[in-house]
Amino acid sequence: MNNNNKPYSNIPGTTVFDGDMARIGFHLNQFCMSLMQASNRDAFRQDERGYVDQWPMTEAQKKAVLARDFTQLIALGGNIYYLVKLSSSDGLSVAAAVSTMTNLSPEDYMAMMRNGGRSPDGNRYVENDKPKEKP
């Protein structure tokens, strides 16, 4: 996460898509955007490596794309609304893609959602910033 020294850096398990993230993720997100077109999705499917090499992404970004490592893609400047264009082109639901970033299996994640979702309690501040937690 590149959210250091920001007012939101003490929110656990969260990356805010700010200017710093937008800068490092520009080409990654524009690559994702290209998958909105069927012809580009086909080209990507036929030769994933060849397709990503057409974009001025870093090698780490390319590897994370090929591995569908969404946690890593977020850390490297990907925005979730752009990244779902990648997961959608794989036929994955948003919930399934999102669940891979948590420490839950897709099934457990769905079960948690059916039970009302993740509670905000204990999820507002990172551990070492606990004193600020609301009562």
Binding site: T14, D18, G19, N29, M33, N79, M112, M113, R118
Partner: protein
């Protein structure tokens, strides 16, 4: 003269569009979600708005990383449902209200709002899902629509104060338009959800319900909430709720909440929905009914 008569808040969750488009919105499985819009569907048939100013956010569809407007207002003749990667939704083309939209835009810019004018764009689920939830499956949308796209994708989104002020400025602009038009303003997005990171799946029911309570009369309190607080309390995407404040600002101070619906979860998201009528309008209608 044109008049804003009512406001409506609703989530715009893409799954709702998928369910409708697969013809499954009337199934028992999804009844807890869709039943909460039965009242709305009857209500809108009586209201017959001429124009809906539909506040939503584009989800990396019409706008990509090249250009990100804070407030984009659609002055075009029509808008096509976007292909968001799985084909365009099979819903009618959205007819614009260019004359009113240009009037509002001119007024807003003169009032000090730095609008981005859009004459051509496709509209994504943020705009078409609310239309489907309210009007159902129709051959044509029964009103014109002015899309008002708000940036909530790239930090920072406009502040709550700015959104509330924009709503007020929209009201002033609409009331100066010489044609007799029944105008509604819809605020969409939210409620609590977070689509990324280890904390994904966050839902804050208490926060959502308090937001809906406060929106009626304590909206100034809501307008002071920072985006960081939205994110902390209601998830990264929960900050979409700021768009409901534009709707609220466009209404009179006195409104009557005539409907509310809240359900968790839809996909990753808490679904919220409510309807306000301007109090004087509600009173007028009541009087008219009494007389009739």
């Amino acid at each position: 003269m044109a008049k804003i008569t009512a406001g409506l808040g609703t989530s715009h969750i893409p799954l709702l569009g998928h369910i409708i488009d697969k013809g499954e919105s009337h199934t028992e499985k999804w009844a807890p979600i869709f039943d909460g819009f039965q009242f709305t569907k009857q209500w809108i048939k009586k209201q017959k708005p001429d124009v809906v100013i539909l506040v939503y956010n584009d989800h990396a569809t019409a706008f990509d990383m090249k250009i990100i407007p804070t407030f984009a207002i659609g002055c075009g003749e029509e808008y096509h449902p976007a292909d968001e990667g799985y084909g365009a939704r099979p819903v009618p083309t959205v007819k614009g209200a260019p004359k009113l939209a240009w009037h509002i835009t001119e007024s807003l810019i003169k009032q000090g709002f730095d609008m981005t004018i859009v004459n051509e764009m496709d509209v994504d689920h943020g705009l078409t899902v609310p239309l489907s939830m309210v009007f159902g499956e129709v051959e044509e949308w029964p009103c014109q629509v002015i899309p008002l796209a708000v940036n909530t994708v790239v930090y920072p989104a406009p502040t709550g104060e700015r959104c509330l002020a924009l709503g007020k400025a929209i009201r002033a602009a609409v009331e100066q338009f010489p044609e007799d038009l029944n105008v509604q303003v819809w605020g969409t997005g939210g409620m609590s959800h977070q689509l990324l990171g280890e904390r994904a799946g966050l839902i804050n029911r208490e926060w959502d319900l308090a937001f809906m309570d406060d929106l009626q009369s304590d909206y100034d309190k809501l307008a002071a909430i920072s985006q960081v607080e939205y994110i902390r309390e209601s998830g990264t995407e929960g900050s979409e709720m700021v768009m409901w404040l534009i709707m609220r600002g466009a209404l009179n101070h006195d409104v009557t909440e005539i409907h509310r619906h809240y359900y968790v979860p839809v996909s990753n998201t808490a679904l919220g929905h409510l309807i306000y009528e301007n109090a004087d309008i509600a009173a007028d209608l009541k009087t008219a009914e009494d007389v009739a």
